[in-house]
Symmetry: C2
Subunit: 124 residues, 2 copies
Amino acid sequence: MKRRNTPTKEAVLDVLAKTGKAMSQDAIEQKIDIDINRATIYRILNRFCNDGVLHRVVAEDGKQYFALCVKCDENQKPLHHFHFRCIKCETIECLPVEVNFSIPDEYLVENVNCVLTGTCKECS
Amino acid sequence: MKRRNTPTKEAVLDVLAKTGKAMSQDAIEQKIDIDINRATIYRILNRFCNDGVLHRVVAEDGKQYFALCVKCDENQKPLHHFHFRCIKCETIECLPVEVNFSIPDEYLVENVNCVLTGTCKECS
DNA sequence: AAACTAATGCGATATAATTGCATTAATGAC
DNA sequence: GTCATTAATGCAATTATATCGCATTAGTTT
């Protein structure tokens, strides 16, 4: 199925690119200047996740947050990195800190979801 | 505020002790033989978390899971440990694998929520 | 310009979790 | 054992997140 270019897609990507952080559907909708339906935003986000453009994090508030996948050049984030959720500025940033663990081979790890919560360096 | 001993509290603890895993309110309610209201179970779980009896994990399905805090003797789990959510048997277990990371001092980490998802050793 | 169909908007729906309030029952004092 | 205090509970309503069906819109290709 070929993707089409739509203003809504562009708008969502723009917002995510500008903040450089992981954002919820709610936060994205508020930041976008044009009106986009809630369901549409979710569909865009899910599509981008499937296409590898975004990655999804679920924070301990139970909400989904989406962030651009930064490719591996300078300033890159590792494949599985920690996320930091600040309870003051209520943002989630991708930390350039890789998640390392070693568990028995019998476990097949398909996804990694690691979020640290507290006060970020901007707010402390 | 002093806690009172109630059959419901005991029942919830029993179920969690028996499975030894992290369980959702839903799963707990199903396993309990007596009838306990959903809201009551949530209140019990939240109280136990505040009292340090249980710890809470939020998986990438957005649901809360609760597990007994195992004290630091043999077979202990570290303070912040990884959790593994199996998509086949739909359980979450506490892995005896500590979560390690190093981030700048300006970050104040108050909570750690790390969940690996995939197929556990029982189901692979 | 026309056809194809991906993408969208809207409303309804599913699920998780919490809250207000009246009632029940565990605990301590007597 | 009885009574008083109030923690704990049940029930219904509510909040919030996210998804889904379906009719319509609009991007893309010919």
